[in-house]
Amino acid sequence: MKVVIFKNVDNKFAVIMPTQEALQFATIEQIAEKDVPAGRPYWIVDASLLPADIPVEAIYIDENANPPHGFGGESNEFPPDVIQKYKEMSK
């Protein structure tokens, strides 16, 4: 199971859990682009790598040593072709 970690506007890190529902018609990259705040860097990591029982505030990624996998998109909505897949799946 993959999750997305992003560096928020306050420079703290947050974790995004994509739903299985969304992963049926969109890639985790497409979900990250939509749900990560615009322009903020994100990394896709395996959930098992997250340390157990520590608060999210303790998460830290060295951006210089680990270049981001992408950046949040301008829109908080999926593009029309992705939404169309969701509609067809929901019929």
Partner: protein, 172 residues
């Protein structure tokens, strides 16, 4: 029989044959047109039966909603566990992801946007500890109410302690 007579007879036979074919073609054409008309009528009848207004008795009966009170739809919902170990979304509808922003603060992102930000948020959570020490809320601060058409930010006052899963449902 003279050659001229044979040609005249043959010509008459061909003429008769053409007339019979034309008549038969008209008959078939009429039959096809009748079937098309029947199908069109059937389509109109089907459409009239499928078109119904909101809160149509057929819909309410199907949903077991008795009485005169109208029904309104849940537009998105999610059920997720405390995200500290390990994070798990148990089930969802029209939710693309849940963000753990800080301890006890979550952003629920919708797959398809709400029509506006006037929706209602229903929150609940499980707890095996002192319920009075926990509280659920939609987050706001001095400048923002974090209810957008594409997401809503919610919080559990006591962070990740004492609860196993949180549910949210959006009505509009």
């Amino acid at each position: 029989m003279s050659l001229e007579s044979q040609v005249a007879q043959l010509s008459q036979n061909v003429g008769n044959l053409v007339n019979r074919v034309a008549t038969q073609a008209d008959t078939w054409n009429n039959m096809v047109q009748n079937k098309i008309n029947e199908l069109e009528q059937w389509k109109q009848n089907a459409n009239s039966q499928l078109n119904f207004v909101a809160n149509d008795p057929k819909v309410k009966t199907a949903l077991n909603a008795s009485g005169d009170a109208p029904i309104y739809a849940c537009r998105a919902w999610v059920n997720f566990t405390d995200m500290t170990s390990p994070p798990t979304i148990r089930a969802s509808g029209n939710v693309s992801s849940v963000v753990m922003e800080t301890t006890g603060i979550y952003i629920i992102n919708f797959i398809t946007a709400m029509p506006d930000t006037q929706y209602a948020v229903s929150l609940s959570f499980s707890s095996d500890s002192d319920v009075s020490s926990n509280a659920l809320k939609v987050i706001e601060d001095s400048s923002n109410l974090y209810m957008y058409t594409t997401s809503v930010k919610v919080g559990v006052l006591q962070g990740h302690g004492g609860w196993k899963f949180l549910s949210a449902a959006i009505f509009r």
